[in-house]
Amino acid sequence: ACHSEKHVGQFYTLPSAHVRHLFPNGLPWCFQHQTKTFNETCIMVRQPALEVISCLKKADYSQPALRYLFYGLKGSGKTLSLCHTVHFCYTQGWLVLHVPDAHLWVKNCKELLPSSYSSSRFDQPLQATTWLRNFKITNEPFLSKIKTKERYVWTKREATEAGSPLGELVDQGISRVKSSSDVVGAVMKELRLQSSQPGADFRMAVAVDGVNALWGRSTIKRQDKTAVDPEELTLVYNLRKLMKNDWSGGAIITTLSQTGSLYTPKSAYLPQELLGERGFDSVDPFIPVSVPNYSEKEFESCYLYYTDRNWLQHPQSRTEEGKKELIFLSNRNPSMLERLCGFL
């Protein structure tokens, strides 16, 4: 992952072992299909991801964590830039806390339990267990290295002692479904405390996709049909604590997303519109990185990649006129281009 500005527009392949560990289900749906069809995972090196990676290389990790926010029009490649950055962190040996889509925690909840830790909050066992499983697959080497500092009591008979490895905590959460959201909170607290200490030998990367879900509204309703504020969900509450700048020794990389967001107009893509007032104030000192549509060079390279992988099959699409038509129809938007090339 030692990319520089000379490599802009070129594709690089992610080794499949990395992909299986890093993104058990972190990649977008269409991209997963593409990976299966072409038998390989290829991401294009683009300017926004390169900027964030160069900042990460030069940052001072004794200062509080820096927040990076990818924003841009719908389908312009924010999630894939996030994945590129996360892969870079993984190759450097960092601990990766990847939330594939924060909107999934705030809508379509099938099970909602009142929280055992504090009475005003709600738990989501299903989403918490899936997240813990993915976390376990991603960060296997760290699970035995990091030890917990405090004692956590789950029920009258079960408690995790101080000094036990993180893997035990995670297993506890996966096996005891009812307390899994509290386990998630405990894991986040431990990692936050430990990475701030100067003696820690690991750095933490918090990657959240669709960060505007944490401060928006939610569609979940209580039994008496009153709406639930995202603040009252344990998962969202703990994630917000992570997003605050009070820990050091790592970086926070986030993306805005309009596609999954609730009650926001379709044309909103700027941070201020999507995060709302509360969100913008909490994320306030952050580094915004805009993700534009493909430039001409990037479009060329994407077109050549599809031709090389035998994906553009229509005889007319290989001519000059076909190419001009593709530029016109997709407006160089990556997701539109993918949809168009799908059937051409």
Partner: protein, 214 residues
Amino acid sequence: VLLVRWSRYNPYYLEPEVRKEAYSRPESELSPEEKEERELKTLRPIKAAPNALTSSAFDDPVLSKFINMMMKDGNKVLAREIMMQTLENIKKKQVEKYHKAADGTKEEIECNPYAIFHQALENCKPVVGLASIQKGGKYYQVPIPLTDNRRRFFAMKWMITECRENKHRRTHMYEKLSQELLAAFEKEGNVIKKKHELHKMAEANRAYAHYRWW
């Protein structure tokens, strides 16, 4: 005035010409009849072009006809969406097979969904059809030659009805269509079977062929 294309025009009106190549030819290349046609087009009114007719390079008349036949209640958006998903599905399956195949067999796998679609339709077209002709109080099934349009219509109609009725209820239409098209490309599947049965009926009723008077 809403620009709507009517279906009943005065025969005075001429058909629209959409292809770009027809207009970029210089004066010298035209024969006298084509010069006359051009003059006629400047004088006479022209019918409005239908919405589905494009001058883009990716336009395919056979494909448009198939989409029109699949359309229900005028929902062209949905029919087109299904067709595009079908083509994408076929392409995905073929490209996956291509990438996993050994180097020797790579050349034989056809990846182009359009080529597969056209070839599958060709394989489904019947050669002779049956017509019900009355002779001496009784109706006989007589084998008759079919025009090209009629054969294309039969192939498409069988394909669509087969996908709608004879498949498992829970699969999507594009999935059913892609399976059927790939099977027709390999000359297997229910539609090919139907074509063969029609041919056998025609062969069996060969004796009545002289009842046809045209």
